[in-house]
């Protein structure tokens, strides 16, 4: 999209089409000849993996929609029918349910990659924001999708999440009533959720197109974070990255297949195989694993509105990150201090995820208890969540802004090629051909 096109139509029909709708040229320039930094490592393969997962969710989802019935009296039974009677239905559904998990796994890795290599910094702010929007739309889609099978977790998860909006003063109740289309989560809710679950993935697809457009204006960032200086720093996307992405996709699909074929329900919750019953809440309601960190933040706050605001704030913060990080150095390869704080951040996010799956009053370690602070025992999941929540926000709002001004980064290479070419002794033979080994 940027720069000149190297496409040469060879056949007559291609030449004819090229002067009328240069779509082959567009595809060639975008996916084949696009100049790409030559040092991208495997962390950079998750973009392709994500595109594939979106495609899989779309295909399996549309097939499921051919058999699924969005009505409170039939939804659960129709999913069971997909599992038992529809030809290959079990496969399609397990692909879809586990596909959502794999999609989130990939997006989290993709985002942490961005955090590590400073991919959110100028001139890629819009690219980053589009990514955050995709993430937000993915969360909405997955939450709504989980409601569709109309099991106990579906139903009570929908109740809890829609009630979050009820925490807002004045407009809270009208909004929840509007979302439900009634006085409780019921048939109108399920029906509109199905409609939106069908729609949102296409919105995501649109955002992905913008995301890739915004990527192709400045081009890829890379593990050094240094701008591409000349053609020496790049290779054409094909065959170099089509093959590298292809290999990564193969490995990723193995992991995906091992869930689909060997442990298809391990990421789900058994209670969702019990039909929804509005009169009984399961003893321990938990969202899907990919929402657990946010669920832990929600529960960390003893106040209803405060918890809701902090949870949405955790996502909102991501949007302004490009303006919070004050460092001029992109890649954390050259920011050892920042790197340490980022590792702790990832740890905090994992801890939050863990806490989100436990009961708030559960002890963290066995023995000591009885030391109360405010409303709960210090040795409780609630307090662990509070500490981790504090770090989550401190990382973005305090550490990154301050660190950029105070830290001393390591010397940054002149160009992408320089570190490879100037240290032949430390570079194994053939390193230039596989620079990812240096990551």
């Amino acid at each position: 999209m940027s720069g000149h096109s190297t496409y040469e139509p060879t056949t007559g029909i291609e030449r004819w089409l090229d002067t009328r709708l240069p779509i082959v040229r567009f595809a060639h320039d975008t996916a084949l000849s696009f100049p790409t930094p030559k040092n991208l490592n495997y962390w950079y393969t998750f973009g392709g993996i994500l595109a594939l997962m979106l495609g899989i969710q779309l295909v399996t989802g549309i097939v499921l929609a051919m058999h699924y019935v969005p009505h409170v009296d039939y939804a659960f039974a129709s999913v069971e029918r997909i599992m038992r009677d529809v030809n290959c239905g079990w496969l399609i559904r397990y692909m879809h349910a586990n596909g959502a998990s794999m999609f989130f796994l990939a997006v989290y890795i993709h985002m942490i990659r961005g955090l590590y290599y400073g991919s959110y910094k100028a001139p890629r702010e819009v690219l980053w924001i589009l990514g955050c929007l995709i993430y937000l739309a993915m969360m909405a889609t997955a939450f709504i999708g989980y409601v569709l099978p109309w099991g106990q977790m579906s139903f009570h998860g929908a109740v809890v999440i829609t009630n979050l909006f009820g925490a807002l003063p004045i407009i809270g109740t009208p909004i929840t009533t509007w979302l439900w289309g009634g006085f409780a989560v019921d048939n109108p809710t399920l029906n509109r959720f199905f409609s939106l679950h069908y729609l949102l993935p296409f919105v995501i697809a649109g955002l992905v197109i913008l995301h890739i457009w915004a990527l192709h204006v400045p081009g890829n960032n890379n593990p050094t974070g240094v701008n591409v200086k000349s053609e020496n720093d790049t290779v054409p996307f094909h065959p170099y990255y089509t093959v590298k992405d292809g290999f990564a996709i193969g490995v990723f699909l193995l992991l995906y297949a091992s869930f689909v074929f060997y442990n298809p329900n391990v990421l789900g919750h058994a209670d969702n195989y019990i039909p929804a019953n509005p009169l009984v809440t399961p003893a321990h309601i938990v969202p899907e694993w990919y929402f657990l960190p946010f669920y832990a933040i929600l529960r960390a706050v003893p106040d209803k509105l405060g918890g809701v605001l902090l949870m949405f704030g955790a996502i909102a913060t991501l949007f302004v990150l490009p303006w919070l990080d004050t460092s001029k150095v992109r890649s954390m390869r050259y920011r050892p201090t920042a790197r340490l704080y980022l590792f702790i951040f990832v740890l905090a996010a994992l801890v939050l995820g863990y806490c989100g799956g436990q009961l708030p009053d559960d002890p963290v370690i066995g023995a000591p208890s009885g030391l109360m602070l405010l409303d709960a025992d210090i040795n409780s999941m609630v307090w662990l969540s509070r500490v981790a929540t504090l770090y989550y926000f401190a990382y973005f709002l305090i550490i990154l802004p301050v660190l950029g001004l105070t830290e001393t980064p390591l010397p940054v290479p002149e160009s992408i090629s320089e570190p490879v070419l100037s240290h032949p002794a430390t570079t194994p033979v053939g390193a230039a051909a596989s620079p990812e080994k240096r990551g």
């Binding site: 809890v160 009630n163 509007w178 009634g182 006085f183 109108p188 509005p278 399961p282 708030p360």
Partner: protein, 185 residues
């Protein structure tokens, strides 16, 4: 393009000599378009509000004879659980004793939460005022209800005493039709 319309004037530059007229047309056309879009958006938003038949959801009648002392029966009302609890004298006494307790987050007397002279009958909407789970009867530190979702404790009057929920369990509109029959809604 407007220039060509006004092009009847020999000098094309003279066509702009009445800018206020053109501005008026721009603003008027813009305002009409915004108004039309707004008028169209409202039905698209409003269609998600409860439909007529949902609003018309009938009230229910319930025969109290089915509830033994100390027991609770849960019925579905407007898609939500409705608690009908037949309280024992001890449970009533415990609730009345706490009428002025300092930890009442949403202060209310027990008297105000049942119909006059019917202290034994507590009728409540069975959704936790935190995020809407269904609390379990008899649990929690106060012997009323305990919400398993995020740990809210309600007393035997359905008042919030501990945990994240901000309000007491809601008392719906209901009336006694006879000594043993109520009508809710």
């Amino acid at each position: 393009m407007a220039d060509t319309v006004v092009g009847a004037t020999p000098d094309p530059h003279a066509s702009g000599d009445d800018p206020s007229r053109r501005d008026f047309i721009h603003i008027a056309a813009g305002a009409a378009a915004v108004g039309a879009a707004g008028a169209l958006i409202w039905p698209l938003v409003d269609q998600m509000n409860p439909a007529g038949d949902t609003l018309a959801l009938a009230s229910i009648e319930f025969d109290l004879g089915k509830v033994e002392p100390g027991q609770q029966v849960v019925v579905k009302w407007r898609g939500k659980p409705l608690f009908v609890r037949n309280r024992t004298p001890e449970q009533i006494a415990a609730a009345v004793k706490d009428d002025n307790a300092s930890d009442l987050r949403d202060p209310a007397t027990d008297e105000s939460r049942h119909k006059p002279g019917k202290a034994q009958w507590l009728v409540l909407v069975g959704t936790c005022t935190h995020l809407g789970c269904v609390p379990t009867v008899g649990g929690g530190d106060y012997g009323g209800w305990f919400c398993p979702c995020h740990g809210s404790h309600y007393d035997t009057s359905g008042r919030i005493r501990k945990g994240p929920a901000p309000k007491n369990l809601l008392v719906p509109d209901y009336a006694f039709l006879s000594d043993t029959k109520i009508k809710v809604g």
